[in-house]
């Protein structure tokens, strides 16, 4: 695939390395001359100096035949415009934008960007995972965030400790996929599985039922 990366910062650089080692044709667009030089030293001739939001620049690097454009600058508005120009002017089939402000996720989706990656949300999720007190950890979003895989840690003082999974009434479309026991390690539970204190329970649920699943499993 021919993939254009807009923005040659750390994210752009590492993304390019991965894609190149997977055998893709890659081109990085970066505005800063010094940065371009460094990237060229590291990656070879896959760097072009220019503004990835400018149609003329995109034209000169053959965006018309690109299979994908990924905009990973640190400016949300720049990523939006780069993707929109790629889509509307060059009919690039797939555009992906990095976003810093998590609130822009829905806006970008409404404005026709195929996928967004919120670096802020990812970092927050990872930090949350390290916080022992935090009861629900988002692991994965599917179907544009309408279906979620989350992890709930059973508090030691919870009234669900000692109860069978089959004894709970989960909301529609929600289920327990995996239990990671403190001593037992990970296993696929049945309705007969008895929850223990500090079990990590991985569940699939819908966005609107996440709260309900949390209160059932944390016993509050």
């Amino acid at each position: 695939m021919y993939i254009i990366i807009v923005g040659g910062g750390e994210v752009g650089y590492h993304l390019a390395r991965i894609l190149l080692s997977d055998g893709h044709e890659v081109l990085i667009l970066e505005q800063d001359a010094a940065r371009c030089e460094r990237l060229t030293e590291e990656l070879g001739g896959v760097v072009h100096r220019g503004d990835g939001c400018e149609a003329a620049t995109l034209e000169s690097v053959g965006t018309g035949r690109a299979d994908m454009l990924v905009a990973v600058t640190d400016g949300d508005e720049d990523n939006l415009v780069a993707c929109q120009v790629a889509k509307h002017k060059f009919s690039v089939p797939r555009t992906i934008a990095r976003i810093t402000n998590p609130k822009n996720e829905t806006i970008f989706e409404m404005l026709g960007i195929d996928a967004t990656v919120s670096s802020t949300n990812l970092i927050l999720a990872h930090i949350e995972q390290e916080l022992p007190s935090h009861p629900v950890i988002p692991l994965l979003k599917l179907k544009s965030g309408t279906v979620e895989v989350v992890e709930v840690k059973v508090p030691p003082d919870s009234k669900v400790v000692g109860k069978k999974i089959g004894s709970f009434r989960f909301p529609k479309g929600s289920a327990v996929l995996l239990v990671i026991g403190k001593e037992k390690g990970p296993f696929i539970p049945t309705n007969e599985t008895v929850l223990e204190a500090e079990d990590e329970v991985v569940v699939i649920t819908s966005a609107e039922n996440e709260e309900a699943m949390r209160s059932i499993l944390s016993g509050k």
């Binding site: 939001c53 400018e54 508005e77 415009v81 929109q84 509307h88 402000n101 609130k103 404005l111």
Partner: protein, 132 residues
């Protein structure tokens, strides 16, 4: 009319003063309070510190009741993003953006954003002067 102007540079401040003098209800927002010094001393509208790309600032500026939303910041991308938020999320009836880059201007014009490219307009005016 309720008008929100994003960006209080020379153009934003001048436009705000003109519309205010004609009796429109003008709110001008800018991330930098120092830029409000450009507003004429007779300006009766509201000058608000805020970022037009953020929901809270837009709501505080009264985007839900706005008839017109104009973006004249220095950044083309900021201008078009804010305009698209105003048009597609808040359904402001009239949305106008300044876009310096003529190619980008043409594209967003085709996408339904009313826009003016000073680069194109000024170049044409200068050409007329030179040849006229």
């Amino acid at each position: 009319m309720n008008v929100i102007i994003m960006g209080c540079g020379r153009v934003g401040a001048q436009l705000a003063g003109m519309l205010d003098a004609e009796g429109h209800k003008v709110t001008i927002i800018d991330v930098e309070p120092y830029s409000f010094r450009r507003l004429p001393s007779t300006f009766n509208g509201l000058a608000m510190v805020g970022n037009g790309l953020e929901e809270e600032s837009l709501k505080k500026a009264g985007i839900e009741e706005a008839d017109v939303f104009v973006t004249v910041t220095q950044g083309d991308n900021r201008n078009v993003m804010a305009c698209q938020i105003a048009k597609h999320i808040y359904h402001v009836p009239k949305v106008v953006s300044r876009i310096y880059d003529p190619i980008r201007e043409e594209m967003y014009h085709n996408l339904g954003i009313e826009s003016v490219s000073p680069t194109k307009v000024v170049a044409e005016l200068l050409k007329d002067r030179i040849e006229g």
